[in-house]
Amino acid sequence: MAIELKERPTPPAPRQITTKPRLSDQVFRTVVTIGGMASLVILGLIAIFLSIKGMHILVDEKFNFITESRWEVITDETGEVIEANFGIGAMLIGTMLSATIAILVGVPISVLSALYLTFYANGKLKKVLISVIDLMAAFPSLLFGFWGFFIFMSSAEYWAKLINKYLGFIPLFDVPTPIFERSPFIAGLVLAIMIIPIVTSISREIFDQTPLDRVQAAYALGATKLSMIKAVVIPYGRGGIIGGAMLGLGRAMGETVAVYTVLNVVYQVNWQVLFGAGGNVASLILLKFGEAGPYEVDALMAAGLILFLLTLIVNATADFLINRFGGKGR
Protein backbone atom coordinates (compact mmCIF):
# COMPACT_ATOMS: atom_id res chain seq x y z
CA MET A 1 0.00 0.00 0.00
CA ALA A 2 1.37 3.28 -1.03
CA ILE A 3 1.94 5.79 1.66
CA GLU A 4 0.55 9.10 0.85
CA LEU A 5 2.89 11.83 1.88
CA LYS A 6 0.84 14.57 3.33
CA GLU A 7 2.10 18.05 3.13
CA ARG A 8 2.75 19.49 6.55
CA PRO A 9 0.45 22.35 7.35
CA THR A 10 2.31 25.63 7.41
CA PRO A 11 2.66 26.86 10.98
CA PRO A 12 0.67 29.95 11.82
CA ALA A 13 2.29 33.34 12.03
CA PRO A 14 3.36 34.16 15.58
CA ARG A 15 0.78 36.11 17.51
CA GLN A 16 1.38 39.63 18.61
CA ILE A 17 1.49 39.53 22.39
CA THR A 18 0.57 42.81 23.99
CA THR A 19 -0.48 43.96 27.38
CA LYS A 20 -2.27 47.05 28.52
CA PRO A 21 -0.56 48.39 31.62
CA ARG A 22 -2.63 49.94 34.31
CA LEU A 23 -2.72 53.71 34.58
CA SER A 24 -0.81 53.74 37.88
CA ASP A 25 1.90 51.66 36.26
CA GLN A 26 2.12 54.02 33.29
CA VAL A 27 2.36 57.07 35.53
CA PHE A 28 5.07 55.48 37.62
CA ARG A 29 6.93 54.40 34.51
CA THR A 30 6.95 57.98 33.25
CA VAL A 31 8.22 59.32 36.58
CA VAL A 32 11.00 56.75 36.75
CA THR A 33 11.98 57.33 33.13
CA ILE A 34 12.25 61.08 33.72
CA GLY A 35 14.46 60.40 36.73
CA GLY A 36 16.62 57.98 34.81
CA MET A 37 17.03 60.25 31.83
CA ALA A 38 17.65 63.42 33.86
CA SER A 39 21.27 62.65 34.62
CA LEU A 40 21.93 61.71 31.02
CA VAL A 41 20.32 64.91 29.75
CA ILE A 42 22.19 67.11 32.24
CA LEU A 43 25.50 65.47 31.40
CA GLY A 44 24.78 65.85 27.69
CA LEU A 45 23.90 69.52 28.08
CA ILE A 46 27.15 70.17 29.97
CA ALA A 47 29.13 68.45 27.25
CA ILE A 48 27.35 70.47 24.55
CA PHE A 49 27.89 73.71 26.46
CA LEU A 50 31.60 73.00 26.89
CA SER A 51 31.95 72.04 23.23
CA ILE A 52 30.20 75.16 21.94
CA LYS A 53 32.26 77.44 24.13
CA GLY A 54 35.60 75.72 23.75
CA MET A 55 35.55 74.20 20.29
CA HIS A 56 36.97 77.21 18.44
CA ILE A 57 39.95 77.23 20.82
CA LEU A 58 40.56 73.57 20.12
CA VAL A 59 40.27 74.20 16.38
CA ASP A 60 42.78 77.07 16.63
CA GLU A 61 45.28 75.27 18.79
CA LYS A 62 44.77 71.78 17.41
CA PHE A 63 46.89 69.16 19.18
CA ASN A 64 49.04 71.85 20.74
CA PHE A 65 46.26 72.33 23.25
CA ILE A 66 47.02 69.02 24.92
CA THR A 67 50.74 68.80 24.17
CA GLU A 68 52.03 72.35 24.74
CA SER A 69 52.44 73.91 28.15
CA ARG A 70 51.76 77.61 28.05
CA TRP A 71 48.98 79.97 28.86
CA GLU A 72 49.49 83.39 27.27
CA VAL A 73 46.98 86.05 26.38
CA ILE A 74 48.26 89.35 24.97
CA THR A 75 45.75 92.16 24.74
CA ASP A 76 45.95 95.76 23.54
CA GLU A 77 44.77 98.79 25.54
CA THR A 78 41.12 98.24 24.61
CA GLY A 79 41.20 94.68 25.87
CA GLU A 80 41.14 93.13 22.41
CA VAL A 81 43.06 89.87 22.19
CA ILE A 82 46.07 90.29 19.90
CA GLU A 83 47.70 86.95 20.42
CA ALA A 84 46.92 83.92 22.57
CA ASN A 85 48.54 80.56 23.10
CA PHE A 86 46.93 77.87 25.13
CA GLY A 87 48.23 74.42 26.01
CA ILE A 88 47.41 72.25 29.01
CA GLY A 89 49.96 69.46 28.56
CA ALA A 90 51.59 70.06 31.92
CA MET A 91 48.20 70.26 33.59
CA LEU A 92 47.04 66.96 32.08
CA ILE A 93 50.22 65.17 33.09
CA GLY A 94 50.01 66.70 36.57
CA THR A 95 46.39 65.61 36.90
CA MET A 96 47.23 62.04 35.97
CA LEU A 97 50.31 61.94 38.20
CA SER A 98 48.58 63.08 41.35
CA ALA A 99 45.52 60.92 40.62
CA THR A 100 47.77 57.89 40.12
CA ILE A 101 49.54 58.54 43.42
CA ALA A 102 46.14 58.90 45.07
CA ILE A 103 45.04 55.51 43.72
CA LEU A 104 48.30 53.73 44.56
CA VAL A 105 48.18 54.95 48.15
CA GLY A 106 44.45 55.24 48.75
CA VAL A 107 43.14 51.96 47.34
CA PRO A 108 45.28 49.57 49.43
CA ILE A 109 44.41 51.51 52.59
CA SER A 110 40.73 51.42 51.63
CA VAL A 111 40.71 47.70 50.88
CA LEU A 112 42.43 46.94 54.17
CA SER A 113 40.02 49.08 56.13
CA ALA A 114 37.08 47.49 54.33
CA LEU A 115 38.43 44.04 55.22
CA TYR A 116 38.90 45.14 58.81
CA LEU A 117 35.36 46.53 58.98
CA THR A 118 33.81 43.44 57.41
CA PHE A 119 35.72 40.64 59.06
CA TYR A 120 37.48 41.92 62.17
CA ALA A 121 35.77 44.93 63.74
CA ASN A 122 32.78 44.07 65.84
CA GLY A 123 29.77 45.67 67.40
CA LYS A 124 30.01 49.28 68.48
CA LEU A 125 33.44 50.02 67.05
CA LYS A 126 32.30 48.86 63.63
CA LYS A 127 29.26 51.16 63.68
CA VAL A 128 31.35 54.13 64.84
CA LEU A 129 33.99 53.54 62.17
CA ILE A 130 31.43 53.19 59.39
CA SER A 131 29.76 56.48 60.31
CA VAL A 132 33.13 58.23 60.62
CA ILE A 133 34.09 57.06 57.14
CA ASP A 134 30.75 58.16 55.73
CA LEU A 135 31.26 61.53 57.41
CA MET A 136 34.69 61.76 55.82
CA ALA A 137 33.08 61.37 52.38
CA ALA A 138 30.89 64.40 53.04
CA PHE A 139 33.74 66.54 54.39
CA PRO A 140 34.35 69.74 52.34
CA SER A 141 37.41 69.35 50.17
CA LEU A 142 38.67 72.83 51.06
CA LEU A 143 39.19 71.62 54.63
CA PHE A 144 41.22 68.66 53.34
CA GLY A 145 43.26 71.20 51.42
CA PHE A 146 43.85 73.40 54.48
CA TRP A 147 44.74 70.43 56.61
CA GLY A 148 47.06 69.19 53.89
CA PHE A 149 48.73 72.57 53.59
CA PHE A 150 49.13 73.48 57.26
CA ILE A 151 49.46 70.16 59.05
CA PHE A 152 50.19 67.33 56.68
CA MET A 153 52.71 69.02 54.40
CA SER A 154 55.59 69.04 56.89
CA SER A 155 55.44 65.29 57.56
CA ALA A 156 54.85 64.48 53.89
CA GLU A 157 57.89 66.61 53.07
CA TYR A 158 59.93 64.44 55.39
CA TRP A 159 58.77 61.28 53.61
CA ALA A 160 59.47 62.90 50.25
CA LYS A 161 63.03 63.64 51.36
CA LEU A 162 63.48 60.06 52.52
CA ILE A 163 62.19 58.68 49.21
CA ASN A 164 64.43 61.11 47.34
CA LYS A 165 67.43 60.13 49.42
CA TYR A 166 67.11 56.40 48.89
CA LEU A 167 65.27 56.15 45.57
CA GLY A 168 66.49 59.37 43.97
CA PHE A 169 68.36 57.41 41.28
CA ILE A 170 64.95 56.67 39.74
CA PRO A 171 64.17 59.69 37.52
CA LEU A 172 60.61 59.85 38.89
CA PHE A 173 61.92 60.51 42.41
CA ASP A 174 64.72 62.87 41.46
CA VAL A 175 64.49 66.61 42.21
CA PRO A 176 66.41 69.32 40.31
CA THR A 177 66.56 71.68 43.29
CA PRO A 178 65.65 70.63 46.83
CA ILE A 179 62.14 72.04 46.95
CA PHE A 180 59.83 69.44 48.42
CA GLU A 181 56.90 71.65 49.40
CA ARG A 182 53.66 71.72 47.39
CA SER A 183 54.64 68.82 45.13
CA PRO A 184 52.43 66.46 43.12
CA PHE A 185 53.43 63.79 45.65
CA ILE A 186 51.88 65.72 48.54
CA ALA A 187 48.82 66.65 46.46
CA GLY A 188 48.46 62.96 45.59
CA LEU A 189 48.60 61.97 49.25
CA VAL A 190 45.91 64.50 50.16
CA LEU A 191 43.80 63.13 47.30
CA ALA A 192 44.46 59.60 48.56
CA ILE A 193 42.94 60.53 51.90
CA MET A 194 39.99 62.09 50.12
CA ILE A 195 39.17 58.99 48.08
CA ILE A 196 39.49 56.56 51.00
CA PRO A 197 35.85 56.95 52.13
CA ILE A 198 34.26 56.15 48.78
CA VAL A 199 36.57 53.25 47.95
CA THR A 200 36.20 51.85 51.46
CA SER A 201 32.39 51.95 51.43
CA ILE A 202 32.15 50.33 48.03
CA SER A 203 34.65 47.59 48.92
CA ARG A 204 33.00 47.01 52.27
CA GLU A 205 29.60 46.58 50.68
CA ILE A 206 30.88 44.06 48.17
CA PHE A 207 32.84 42.14 50.83
CA ASP A 208 29.69 42.01 52.93
CA GLN A 209 27.92 40.20 50.11
CA THR A 210 30.48 37.39 49.86
CA PRO A 211 28.35 34.24 49.68
CA LEU A 212 28.32 32.65 53.12
CA ASP A 213 28.47 29.12 51.70
CA ARG A 214 31.85 29.81 50.11
CA VAL A 215 33.16 31.38 53.31
CA GLN A 216 32.01 28.33 55.24
CA ALA A 217 33.46 25.97 52.66
CA ALA A 218 36.84 27.61 53.13
CA TYR A 219 36.66 27.47 56.91
CA ALA A 220 35.51 23.85 56.81
CA LEU A 221 38.72 23.06 54.90
CA GLY A 222 40.83 24.37 57.75
CA ALA A 223 41.32 27.87 56.36
CA THR A 224 42.59 30.64 58.55
CA LYS A 225 40.82 33.97 58.27
CA LEU A 226 43.63 35.31 56.10
CA SER A 227 43.63 32.38 53.69
CA MET A 228 39.82 32.46 53.52
CA ILE A 229 39.93 36.16 52.60
CA LYS A 230 42.57 35.51 49.93
CA ALA A 231 40.76 32.54 48.41
CA VAL A 232 37.15 33.65 48.63
CA VAL A 233 36.60 37.31 49.49
CA ILE A 234 39.18 38.94 47.22
CA PRO A 235 38.23 36.96 44.07
CA TYR A 236 34.57 37.71 44.75
CA GLY A 237 35.15 41.39 45.48
CA ARG A 238 37.72 42.11 42.77
CA GLY A 239 35.23 43.75 40.44
CA GLY A 240 33.87 45.90 43.23
CA ILE A 241 37.34 47.00 44.29
CA ILE A 242 38.18 48.01 40.71
CA GLY A 243 34.87 49.85 40.41
CA GLY A 244 35.47 51.68 43.68
CA ALA A 245 39.02 52.54 42.65
CA MET A 246 37.76 53.98 39.38
CA LEU A 247 35.21 56.13 41.16
CA GLY A 248 38.03 57.30 43.41
CA LEU A 249 40.16 58.01 40.37
CA GLY A 250 37.34 60.07 38.90
CA ARG A 251 37.14 62.09 42.08
CA ALA A 252 40.92 62.48 42.27
CA MET A 253 41.11 63.75 38.70
CA GLY A 254 38.29 66.22 39.10
CA GLU A 255 39.22 67.52 42.53
CA THR A 256 39.90 71.25 42.38
CA VAL A 257 40.07 73.11 45.64
CA ALA A 258 42.14 70.70 47.72
CA VAL A 259 44.75 70.37 44.98
CA TYR A 260 44.72 74.11 44.35
CA THR A 261 45.45 74.71 48.04
CA VAL A 262 48.28 72.22 48.26
CA LEU A 263 49.90 72.14 44.83
CA ASN A 264 52.26 74.71 43.34
CA VAL A 265 50.78 75.05 39.85
CA VAL A 266 53.37 75.80 37.17
CA TYR A 267 53.24 75.70 33.36
CA GLN A 268 55.95 73.22 32.81
CA VAL A 269 55.77 69.48 32.34
CA ASN A 270 57.14 67.93 35.50
CA TRP A 271 57.48 64.20 35.92
CA GLN A 272 59.42 64.51 39.15
CA VAL A 273 56.65 63.86 41.61
CA LEU A 274 58.61 64.96 44.68
CA PHE A 275 59.53 68.36 43.24
CA GLY A 276 57.39 71.28 44.35
CA ALA A 277 55.88 72.09 40.98
CA GLY A 278 53.05 70.44 39.15
CA GLY A 279 49.90 70.89 37.18
CA ASN A 280 46.24 70.12 37.46
CA VAL A 281 43.54 70.88 34.92
CA ALA A 282 40.80 71.62 37.42
CA SER A 283 43.07 73.82 39.51
CA LEU A 284 44.14 75.70 36.39
CA ILE A 285 40.52 76.51 35.62
CA LEU A 286 39.95 77.75 39.16
CA LEU A 287 43.20 79.73 39.13
CA LYS A 288 42.48 81.54 35.88
CA PHE A 289 38.72 81.85 35.93
CA GLY A 290 38.47 84.94 38.17
CA GLU A 291 40.52 87.29 35.99
CA ALA A 292 39.97 85.76 32.55
CA GLY A 293 38.55 87.76 29.67
CA PRO A 294 35.85 86.23 27.42
CA TYR A 295 38.35 84.67 25.05
CA GLU A 296 40.36 83.12 27.84
CA VAL A 297 37.18 81.79 29.45
CA ASP A 298 36.53 79.88 26.23
CA ALA A 299 40.00 78.38 26.54
CA LEU A 300 39.20 77.32 30.09
CA MET A 301 36.00 75.70 28.84
CA ALA A 302 38.08 73.81 26.31
CA ALA A 303 40.30 72.63 29.17
CA GLY A 304 37.14 71.56 30.99
CA LEU A 305 36.02 69.63 27.93
CA ILE A 306 39.34 67.78 27.79
CA LEU A 307 39.04 66.90 31.49
CA PHE A 308 35.49 65.71 30.86
CA LEU A 309 36.65 63.47 28.02
CA LEU A 310 39.54 62.13 30.12
CA THR A 311 37.10 61.21 32.88
CA LEU A 312 34.84 59.49 30.35
CA ILE A 313 37.79 57.47 29.02
CA VAL A 314 38.77 56.47 32.56
CA ASN A 315 35.25 55.31 33.33
CA ALA A 316 34.99 53.36 30.10
CA THR A 317 38.31 51.70 30.93
CA ALA A 318 36.95 50.85 34.38
CA ASP A 319 33.90 49.19 32.83
CA PHE A 320 36.13 47.24 30.52
CA LEU A 321 38.40 46.12 33.37
CA ILE A 322 35.46 45.04 35.53
CA ASN A 323 33.97 43.00 32.69
CA ARG A 324 37.31 41.50 31.83
CA PHE A 325 38.68 40.69 35.28
CA GLY A 326 35.83 41.15 37.72
CA GLY A 327 33.48 38.37 36.72
CA LYS A 328 35.56 35.31 37.47
CA GLY A 329 35.12 35.34 41.22
CA ARG A 330 31.35 35.52 41.00
Binding site: P211, D213, R214, Q216, A217, A218, Y219, A220, L221, G222, A223, T224, S227, M228, A231, V232, P235, Y236, K328, G329, R330
Partner: protein, 282 residues
Protein backbone atom coordinates in the same frame (compact mmCIF):
# COMPACT_ATOMS: atom_id res chain seq x y z
CA UNK B 1 9.60 16.70 79.72
CA UNK B 2 10.74 13.71 77.77
CA UNK B 3 14.08 12.18 78.40
CA UNK B 4 16.62 12.88 75.72
CA UNK B 5 18.96 10.12 76.69
CA UNK B 6 19.62 7.16 74.55
CA UNK B 7 17.95 4.01 75.70
CA UNK B 8 20.46 1.82 77.48
CA UNK B 9 20.28 -0.95 74.92
CA UNK B 10 20.96 1.34 71.94
CA UNK B 11 23.79 3.14 73.68
CA UNK B 12 25.55 -0.08 74.47
CA UNK B 13 25.16 -1.29 70.92
CA UNK B 14 26.65 1.92 69.55
CA UNK B 15 29.47 1.79 72.04
CA UNK B 16 30.20 -1.80 71.19
CA UNK B 17 30.73 -0.82 67.58
CA UNK B 18 34.10 0.54 68.60
CA UNK B 19 35.34 -2.87 69.54
CA UNK B 20 33.78 -4.42 66.46
CA UNK B 21 35.41 -2.06 64.00
CA UNK B 22 38.90 -2.61 62.71
CA UNK B 23 41.67 -1.13 64.83
CA UNK B 24 41.95 2.43 63.58
CA UNK B 25 44.75 3.36 61.25
CA UNK B 26 46.51 6.62 61.99
CA UNK B 27 44.21 8.30 59.51
CA UNK B 28 41.10 6.63 60.79
CA UNK B 29 41.73 7.73 64.37
CA UNK B 30 39.61 6.65 67.25
CA UNK B 31 36.33 8.23 66.30
CA UNK B 32 34.30 11.04 67.71
CA UNK B 33 32.23 11.27 70.87
CA UNK B 34 29.93 13.90 72.26
CA UNK B 35 29.13 14.37 75.92
CA UNK B 36 26.06 16.33 76.93
CA UNK B 37 26.09 18.75 73.99
CA UNK B 38 23.66 21.65 74.19
CA UNK B 39 23.32 24.48 71.68
CA UNK B 40 21.73 27.90 71.70
CA UNK B 41 21.06 30.65 69.19
CA UNK B 42 20.84 33.75 71.34
CA UNK B 43 18.47 32.79 74.13
CA UNK B 44 16.79 30.04 72.15
CA UNK B 45 17.82 26.61 73.35
CA UNK B 46 17.86 24.50 70.19
CA UNK B 47 19.64 21.32 71.20
CA UNK B 48 19.56 19.53 74.52
CA UNK B 49 22.00 17.11 76.07
CA UNK B 50 23.22 14.98 73.17
CA UNK B 51 25.56 12.17 74.12
CA UNK B 52 26.52 10.05 71.15
CA UNK B 53 29.51 8.05 69.96
CA UNK B 54 30.69 7.80 66.38
CA UNK B 55 32.96 4.81 66.15
CA UNK B 56 35.88 5.03 63.76
CA UNK B 57 35.13 3.75 60.28
CA UNK B 58 31.36 3.78 60.61
CA UNK B 59 28.60 5.78 58.94
CA UNK B 60 26.07 7.35 61.26
CA UNK B 61 22.90 8.94 59.94
CA UNK B 62 21.15 11.71 61.84
CA UNK B 63 17.46 11.75 60.99
CA UNK B 64 14.47 13.69 62.19
CA UNK B 65 11.98 16.33 61.05
CA UNK B 66 13.08 19.87 60.12
CA UNK B 67 14.02 22.04 63.08
CA UNK B 68 14.99 19.15 65.34
CA UNK B 69 18.57 20.38 65.68
CA UNK B 70 20.36 17.68 63.71
CA UNK B 71 22.21 20.12 61.45
CA UNK B 72 23.10 22.27 64.43
CA UNK B 73 24.44 19.19 66.17
CA UNK B 74 26.48 18.30 63.08
CA UNK B 75 27.97 21.79 63.03
CA UNK B 76 29.03 21.54 66.66
CA UNK B 77 31.20 18.56 65.64
CA UNK B 78 33.71 20.66 63.69
CA UNK B 79 33.10 24.00 65.37
CA UNK B 80 31.26 25.50 62.42
CA UNK B 81 28.42 26.22 64.86
CA UNK B 82 30.27 29.20 66.32
CA UNK B 83 30.18 31.11 63.02
CA UNK B 84 26.65 32.18 63.73
CA UNK B 85 27.20 35.31 65.80
CA UNK B 86 24.79 34.50 68.65
CA UNK B 87 25.55 30.78 68.76
CA UNK B 88 26.58 29.14 72.01
CA UNK B 89 27.16 25.55 73.11
CA UNK B 90 27.78 23.47 76.20
CA UNK B 91 29.18 19.99 76.71
CA UNK B 92 32.15 18.30 75.12
CA UNK B 93 33.02 16.98 71.69
CA UNK B 94 35.89 14.51 71.93
CA UNK B 95 38.04 13.75 68.91
CA UNK B 96 40.40 10.89 69.70
CA UNK B 97 39.44 11.49 73.31
CA UNK B 98 40.39 15.20 73.31
CA UNK B 99 37.86 18.00 73.67
CA UNK B 100 37.85 20.09 70.49
CA UNK B 101 36.43 23.04 72.45
CA UNK B 102 39.24 22.99 75.01
CA UNK B 103 40.97 26.34 75.52
CA UNK B 104 44.06 26.81 73.37
CA UNK B 105 42.90 24.45 70.62
CA UNK B 106 43.68 25.65 67.08
CA UNK B 107 40.28 25.46 65.47
CA UNK B 108 41.69 25.33 61.93
CA UNK B 109 43.47 22.07 62.80
CA UNK B 110 40.20 20.62 64.08
CA UNK B 111 38.46 21.44 60.82
CA UNK B 112 41.28 19.78 58.89
CA UNK B 113 40.61 16.57 60.77
CA UNK B 114 36.83 16.89 60.71
CA UNK B 115 35.82 17.83 57.17
CA UNK B 116 32.42 18.94 56.01
CA UNK B 117 30.25 18.69 52.90
CA UNK B 118 27.36 21.11 52.71
CA UNK B 119 23.77 20.85 51.57
CA UNK B 120 24.29 23.03 48.53
CA UNK B 121 27.33 22.28 46.36
CA UNK B 122 29.72 25.20 46.92
CA UNK B 123 32.84 24.88 44.77
CA UNK B 124 34.98 28.01 44.58
CA UNK B 125 33.94 29.61 41.28
CA UNK B 126 37.20 31.50 40.85
CA UNK B 127 39.16 28.22 40.77
CA UNK B 128 39.42 25.44 38.23
CA UNK B 129 38.31 21.89 38.99
CA UNK B 130 41.86 20.89 39.87
CA UNK B 131 42.44 23.98 41.99
CA UNK B 132 39.18 23.34 43.81
CA UNK B 133 40.26 19.85 44.81
CA UNK B 134 43.60 21.11 46.08
CA UNK B 135 42.22 24.32 47.59
CA UNK B 136 42.32 22.87 51.10
CA UNK B 137 46.11 22.51 50.91
CA UNK B 138 46.43 26.16 49.98
CA UNK B 139 43.89 27.33 52.53
CA UNK B 140 45.49 25.43 55.37
CA UNK B 141 49.02 26.04 54.09
CA UNK B 142 49.85 22.34 53.81
CA UNK B 143 52.82 21.43 51.63
CA UNK B 144 52.39 18.49 49.31
CA UNK B 145 54.91 17.74 46.61
CA UNK B 146 52.85 15.14 44.85
CA UNK B 147 49.71 17.06 44.05
CA UNK B 148 49.04 15.21 40.79
CA UNK B 149 48.62 11.90 42.58
CA UNK B 150 46.59 13.51 45.34
CA UNK B 151 44.33 15.13 42.77
CA UNK B 152 43.70 11.86 41.00
CA UNK B 153 43.16 9.84 44.17
CA UNK B 154 40.73 12.38 45.67
CA UNK B 155 38.70 12.62 42.50
CA UNK B 156 38.71 8.85 42.12
CA UNK B 157 37.53 8.32 45.67
CA UNK B 158 34.81 10.90 45.14
CA UNK B 159 33.75 9.00 41.99
CA UNK B 160 34.42 11.93 39.69
CA UNK B 161 37.81 11.20 38.11
CA UNK B 162 36.56 9.62 34.89
CA UNK B 163 34.15 12.45 34.24
CA UNK B 164 36.61 15.30 34.74
CA UNK B 165 40.11 13.95 34.09
CA UNK B 166 40.29 15.70 30.72
CA UNK B 167 38.90 19.00 31.93
CA UNK B 168 40.71 19.70 35.18
CA UNK B 169 41.49 23.21 33.94
CA UNK B 170 37.84 24.16 33.54
CA UNK B 171 36.02 26.13 36.18
CA UNK B 172 34.07 24.22 38.81
CA UNK B 173 30.88 26.04 37.95
CA UNK B 174 30.75 24.29 34.58
CA UNK B 175 29.87 20.95 36.22
CA UNK B 176 26.36 19.67 36.92
CA UNK B 177 24.99 19.90 40.44
CA UNK B 178 25.79 16.29 41.27
CA UNK B 179 29.30 16.59 39.86
CA UNK B 180 29.82 19.79 41.83
CA UNK B 181 28.82 18.01 45.02
CA UNK B 182 31.27 15.19 44.30
CA UNK B 183 33.88 17.85 43.57
CA UNK B 184 33.17 19.26 47.03
CA UNK B 185 33.61 15.79 48.51
CA UNK B 186 36.91 15.40 46.65
CA UNK B 187 37.96 18.80 47.95
CA UNK B 188 37.32 17.80 51.54
CA UNK B 189 39.22 14.52 51.02
CA UNK B 190 42.38 16.29 49.88
CA UNK B 191 43.24 17.43 53.39
CA UNK B 192 42.78 13.82 54.61
CA UNK B 193 40.19 14.26 57.34
CA UNK B 194 39.53 11.41 59.73
CA UNK B 195 35.88 12.39 60.10
CA UNK B 196 33.61 13.66 57.31
CA UNK B 197 30.40 15.48 58.18
CA UNK B 198 27.74 15.64 55.48
CA UNK B 199 24.80 17.98 55.87
CA UNK B 200 22.03 16.67 53.59
CA UNK B 201 24.54 16.28 50.75
CA UNK B 202 21.95 14.96 48.29
CA UNK B 203 18.97 17.15 49.01
CA UNK B 204 19.67 19.39 46.01
CA UNK B 205 20.46 16.51 43.64
CA UNK B 206 18.61 14.25 41.23
CA UNK B 207 18.27 10.50 41.96
CA UNK B 208 21.14 9.51 39.67
CA UNK B 209 23.59 11.86 41.36
CA UNK B 210 22.27 10.78 44.75
CA UNK B 211 23.05 7.18 43.86
CA UNK B 212 26.60 8.08 42.86
CA UNK B 213 27.19 9.95 46.10
CA UNK B 214 25.81 7.09 48.17
CA UNK B 215 28.27 4.78 46.41
CA UNK B 216 31.00 7.25 47.26
CA UNK B 217 29.98 7.28 50.92
CA UNK B 218 30.13 3.49 51.06
CA UNK B 219 33.66 3.57 49.62
CA UNK B 220 34.85 6.32 51.92
CA UNK B 221 33.56 4.63 55.05
CA UNK B 222 36.42 2.15 54.80
CA UNK B 223 38.90 4.86 55.63
CA UNK B 224 37.05 7.43 57.67
CA UNK B 225 34.21 8.10 60.06
CA UNK B 226 31.17 9.62 58.41
CA UNK B 227 28.24 11.46 59.95
CA UNK B 228 25.44 12.28 57.56
CA UNK B 229 22.32 14.36 58.14
CA UNK B 230 19.52 13.30 55.87
CA UNK B 231 15.82 13.84 55.42
CA UNK B 232 15.61 10.79 53.29
CA UNK B 233 14.98 7.71 55.42
CA UNK B 234 15.67 5.31 52.57
CA UNK B 235 19.04 6.98 52.24
CA UNK B 236 19.72 6.58 55.95
CA UNK B 237 18.81 2.91 55.67
CA UNK B 238 21.01 2.43 52.60
CA UNK B 239 24.20 4.17 53.65
CA UNK B 240 24.48 4.10 57.43
CA UNK B 241 25.60 1.61 60.04
CA UNK B 242 24.01 3.56 62.88
CA UNK B 243 21.10 5.94 63.00
CA UNK B 244 20.21 8.58 65.56
CA UNK B 245 16.70 9.98 65.61
CA UNK B 246 16.30 13.61 66.70
CA UNK B 247 13.03 15.31 67.57
CA UNK B 248 11.85 18.63 68.94
CA UNK B 249 8.47 18.88 70.66
CA UNK B 250 8.54 22.67 70.40
CA UNK B 251 11.42 22.96 72.85
CA UNK B 252 15.07 22.20 72.15
CA UNK B 253 15.87 19.28 69.85
CA UNK B 254 16.58 16.01 71.62
CA UNK B 255 17.94 12.66 70.60
CA UNK B 256 15.16 10.17 71.02
CA UNK B 257 16.98 7.05 70.03
CA UNK B 258 20.28 5.88 68.58
CA UNK B 259 20.93 2.32 67.47
CA UNK B 260 22.25 0.23 64.59
CA UNK B 261 20.36 1.29 61.52
CA UNK B 262 18.74 -2.09 60.98
CA UNK B 263 17.19 -2.11 64.43
CA UNK B 264 16.06 1.54 64.21
CA UNK B 265 14.09 0.68 61.11
CA UNK B 266 12.95 -2.80 62.07
CA UNK B 267 12.42 -2.65 65.83
CA UNK B 268 12.61 0.88 67.20
CA UNK B 269 12.47 1.01 70.98
CA UNK B 270 10.65 4.31 71.15
CA UNK B 271 7.12 4.87 69.92
CA UNK B 272 7.99 8.26 68.38
CA UNK B 273 10.89 6.77 66.45
CA UNK B 274 8.57 4.13 65.10
CA UNK B 275 6.01 6.74 64.10
CA UNK B 276 8.67 8.71 62.29
CA UNK B 277 10.44 5.89 60.46
CA UNK B 278 7.18 4.37 59.35
CA UNK B 279 6.11 7.70 57.94
CA UNK B 280 3.32 8.45 60.37
CA UNK B 281 4.60 12.01 60.83
CA UNK B 282 7.46 14.25 59.85
Amino acid sequence: MTTSHVTPSSLSSVASARTLSQPGTALLGNGLETRGVHAWFGKKHVLSDITLDFAAGTVTALIGPSGCGKSTFLRTLNRMHEFIPTAAMAGEVLLDGKDIYAPGIDVTKIRLRVGMVFQKPNPFPSMTIGQNVLSGLKLAQIKNSNTDDLLESCLTRAGLWNEVKDRLGEHGGALSGGQQQRLCIARSLAVEPQVLLMDEPCSALDPGSTFRIEETIADLAKTMTIVIVTHNMQQAARVSDYTAFFLSDGGPGEMIEAAPTSSIFSSPQNKRTEDYVTGRFG
